[in-house]
Symmetry: D2
Subunit: 210 residues, 4 copies
């Protein structure tokens, strides 16, 4: 499989959960992510990949976690621990700054924003698969947060559903190096056909930019 | 299978697309639906089933069609005819009265509103299946619009996904008697384990009301 | 949308349930299908479309109903009427002639046979969507049985999932003209972007054959 | 949530990939799994949970990986690395001993065996979700192989789809302690509402056995 060179007719950039609560100073989870994020230059790398994708006219898709709203979980008979945590923290609370997308990553006209996901996978219980198909997309370049939850989940689902995936390993972050390695070194390489750096993927997307 | 007697722990009422554009005087499609809807006493029947369900503490779920927003379809490579029609008519336009739920059917606290669906099935590309499971629901009583598109599609998907379905045949409507019969007489009886009248289902839900 | 001219890189022929029980003399349901099937020249048309697809190197996919096996339904808490009928008739019984594919339609090397479906849609609870994606397929030409159940269900799901669909209206059959019309005239035109004759689709697939 | 005490009406045991190739002496992957499997007493624990479940009349479901067959992948446009590995090793080859279930875990009458899965999740592209619903199952107790691929994937999907999950942490195994910990300590606790030992789950299933 040719992983250098991404045909814009069938390739999209998928940006996962670039919320203020995750990646902005003052966000509810920034203090837990900051160490790995800064060591990885996560935010500049996410910006670089996004810019390269826009420059190459790759369509940009967003997979966004459910913004917390009162009443979301009170009536559920069963709830997964990751959802219980989101509930107790009111992560990405709807109508608050923490539930807004960090300024540099706000969707632009022509971008496609899938329905919010309730758990970790951007595909589960959303219209992401439909919207990718309706745009003829077969390959995904993935950036965003958090490596071992939403990013890994979305990549696992993408592979199960039949998409070809490239993961940009320095355009993500996690709560700890251990969790980051679990995602990037142990799990994602089974499902993504390429796990690459920002500079490599930018070069592949925009070969003439050299 | 016992279709009289609905255990509220595992049964929900599912209300499909009770938008002003469909069932209110002045709605974009009311003129096309009016004949069958009035002959069927569709709206009073929908109100009666909803009241009976609330009285019996059956949880109420809503399956709602995508409210039209500018930019919805311009970039799609493929589009189904039913979506092309929704696009050209701007059906259920977001932010307009036509895209609001008819007054008597507005969701109440404790009701569960699934994400909007893009085509006809309330299950496809939405969180309806998840939210039903998270509330322990295994059986659905279905009312709403339109019989041969969203209602039939949602019932077909419900059966494919493993739910037991009761269709209330006089709490729906359609563009023509022929389309109504295609749904109620030819197709839905293959997928719904019961196709009943409002009076029968109300009696089953609230047996003591006799 | 260009419906004449099917790019073999993204288009497949989907053949639905060409079992002996449906379309061979002596099959369990042939007597019920015979009238419409013969009036429609269903079998010669299915053969013509299949031959044209193979000639044009369109990949051929099969969506096949569950072959009945003892124990299939005994433990189910809920069962749809269409499944109860399959159970009582032992339709497409595994290991019998009725559960074999009619001779002219037996899959060839390179064809892709999806897992059997339990209800009517070739997509529900199967790997059909995955296998289409893994072959880069975005458009489907559909032939097979029965118009108002498995064919309509599969087309409805295809549209919901994002595929572009062409239905070949004289390469199918049904239990009655009324059921056939419900499928071909009322429902399928909402979901298939083209509903065409065998001669039209053969001409589109093999334009040089003119 | 009450994790001790499992109502057999809504709880099932899910056994994942107990193939000879994984957990029998001589299996293709046994040498890679042996170290962790033996340190964890994986096989005796799997047997103990299975026996307890049968004794308590919990229904037993099987999620089984695609048995390799020639022609499986040759025509795929895209393939995930985990599938490429299965292809090159011919893991669980159909018709061979390695593709058979280890003797102690062979399905019994009344057990439910879902269609084979192509990648890692027992839910993706299979009928597992349908068959669970058709039996009224809402909660899963999970045992089997391999922790960080099929087990973790199936648990992630189960949570996304709305099931309550209990993972039996000493009834699984992996290629390395590091991969095992990535699954059991980092990822699965986000999605399974309980991660317990065999002795704890056996006691919960059969409280009177004390």
């Amino acid at each position: 499989m040719n992983t250098t060179g991404y045909d814009p007719n069938i390739t999209a950039l998928l940006v996962i959960d670039p919320y203020n609560d995750f990646i902005s100073e003052g966000g509810k989870l920034w203090d837990r992510l900051k160490g790995v994020a800064e060591a990885n230059d996560c935010i500049p790398h996410m910006m670089a990949v996004l810019a390269a994708a826009r420059n190459a006219r790759l369509r940009v898709f967003y997979a966004l976690h459910r913004r917390y709203r009162p009443g979301d979980y009170e009536t559920w008979k069963y709830i997964a621990p990751v959802q219980k945590a989101a509930w107790s923290r009111k992560t990405f609370e709807h109508g608050t700054w923490g539930g807004e997308i960090r300024r540099e990553f706000v969707p632009q006209p022509g971008d496609v924003v899938a329905r919010e996901h309730w758990c970790s996978s951007g595909f589960a219980n959303t219209d992401l698969d439909l919207l990718l198909k309706r745009h003829g997309i077969q390959r995904l370049i993935v950036i965003g947060l958090i490596a071992h939850t939403c990013v890994e989940a979305t990549i696992r689902f993408a592979a199960e559903l039949g998409y070809d995936v490239t993961m940009v390993k320095d355009a993500t972050a996690d709560y700890s190096e251990e969790a980051m390695q679990a995602a990037l070194d142990i799990n994602i390489p089974n499902y993504a056909s390429a796990v690459v750096t920002t500079s490599a993927v930018v070069e592949s997307i925009n070969p003439v930019s050299k």
